[in-house]
């Protein structure tokens, strides 16, 4: 089975994240860059499926030069090789353009199963997997908390607000996974050393035949007009419990008409 796992390098959610004043896009230098958290579950699921059913795991990432750090991390977990779409013309691309570029790469490199994390912690749009399924004309198996493959049949538990749905389809397909689907492995020392020698193919927009006008900040179908840091919240009333903390809290709720 040919498995492609899409990963994204994002600013660490533990650091302070901001936008750039010049063009209202993500300030990638302001925060530490890490592999998107949910994507680690996607990599792990890809590795497990390849271990169980045979096949190869290719890591794919679209992003600046620096995204190689995230790619190496995924390779050190045990993936076989990687493809990196890197082009200055991609800076500022929105979800629609991103899906066009990634779909072009996937169509070119081929796949039986594409796996993504359910959403990135920076943009949090949560639409990419659905967009890829639409563009590639393959089943959309999203928000999976469990995956089972039997030959070309694939079944998932799709995590919903009320519980979950069981969803069935036939490969090839696009799969997105939620946290908790597995426990991502830590790269071993051996894995880290091996990752340095694994092949990483770089592609540009020209290589995949995507019109530069359809991507980048200028090609984006959406734009950020203004942004501002959220003003700090006005200090509230803090009381220390002297045996009447619960009563005081109830009083506050009554004042605000919640009870």
């Amino acid at each position: 089975m040919n498995i492609v796992v899409c990963i994204k390098q994002v600013p660490d959610t533990w650091s302070e994240r901001t936008l750039k004043a010049s063009d209202n896009t993500l300030d990638r230098d302001a925060a530490d860059a890490v592999i998107n958290e949910t994507d680690e579950f996607a990599v792990e699921e890809g590795l497990r499926l390849a271990e169980a059913h045979g096949g190869e795991v290719t890591i794919f990432s679209m992003g600046p030069e620096r995204a190689t750090e995230a790619i190496r991390k995924a390779l050190s977990m045990g993936a076989d090789k990687a493809v990196h779409l890197v082009d200055d013309g991609l800076a500022g691309t929105d979800a629609l353009g991103t899906s066009a570029a990634i779909a072009a790469v996937l169509a070119q490199i081929g796949f039986d199963l594409v796996i993504l994390g359910a959403e990135s912690t920076d943009a949090r749009t949560g639409v990419l997997a659905a967009m890829l399924a639409e563009r590639l004309g393959v089943p959309q198996l999203t928000l999976a908390s469990k995956v089972q493959i039997d030959g070309s049949a694939i079944t998932i538990h799709r995590l919903m607000d009320y519980g979950y749905d069981t969803v069935e389809a036939t490969l090839p397909a696009v799969l997105s996974v939620v946290e908790k689907i597995n426990e991502p492995r830590y790269p071993s020392f051996k894995g880290i050393m091996a990752a340095k020698k694994k092949p990483v193919q770089t592609l540009t927009l020209a290589d995949i035949g995507v019109d530069p006008g359809a991507v980048g900040l200028a090609g984006a179908a959406t734009e950020v007009q203004t942004w501002a840091k959220r003003p700090p919240k006005q200090a509230g009333t803090i009381v220390t419990d002297d045996g009447d903390g619960g009563a005081k809290a109830a009083e506050f709720l009554a004042e605000r008409k919640f009870i």
């Binding site: 639409e134 999203t142 203004t226 509230g236 709720l253 919640f258």
Partner: protein, 319 residues
Amino acid sequence: MAEILVLAEHDGESVKKVTLELLTAARQFGDPAVVWTGPGVEAARSRLAEFGAAKVYAAESADYDEYVAAPKAELLAELVHRVSPAAVLIPGAAEGREVGGRLAVKIGSGILTDVVGLGDDLVADQVNFGGAINVTSRVRSGVPIIAVRPNAIAAEPAAAPGAAVIEPVAAEISEAARAARITGRVVQERGERPELTEASIVVSGGRGVGSGENMALIERLADSLGAAVGASRAVTDAGWYPHQFQVGQTGKTVSPQLYVAVGISGAIQHRAGMQTSKTIMVVNKDPEAPIFELADFGVVGDLFKVVPQLVEEIEKRTS
């Protein structure tokens, strides 16, 4: 006036609150036209009218609930081509966003997700990075597709009810849209509690709660307030409470009228999911916990003493 398409979220009997919120937002930009999939439109009609629906496109095939996202996107694309709406408003929870994403590809339009407000010319308010930054955005090509966060816009009945004329749509669901079939549904009990993302009050428990059994205390407080129960990541990671109740960066984003954080320290990860709540109350034994920075009212104390007393007081006042 141009139509504004509003994709309805419903459970086959009643309309979800987010649908009414979308109608409220839609009214200021044109004639709201609800897009209803599956059964139940007759029963919902008066409610849709009350919130200003001029028209209701009803595609009543039960097949819309049998396949993931694609059939709804197909229906919306067909309606966009037919009626050239000024915008398409979509419920911002998981499936809505997916439908919106597929629609964006189909009609080549921009999509904005997690929108918390809409101003003139459909300029959208969004909060980024878990509420650290307020952003205004707009769609600049195609018919704007706008996925609105549940509970962000207050639903208000229209000054004059809409006609809510039901127009049946006999849309054909293509083979391609039937690729991912829903073959089973497991509904986990949440009792009488409201849904987490729709609730006007949310009570969440964190690491300080200490065990799965102790989450019963959080549930008691929630029930006394008619609230939904949430949990921090520490709690769901430890298996003390089911994953779908996780509030935070990698869980649900909520913005209720009141958020009560119990035994939650307030790591960035958690704040990302709740800091746009209108009023925040905190109970935590550590006065240095960062969650207190967000608190309108905070109690520094042992939650096992404070919460039972709070429940008792609430019950006294509400009985």
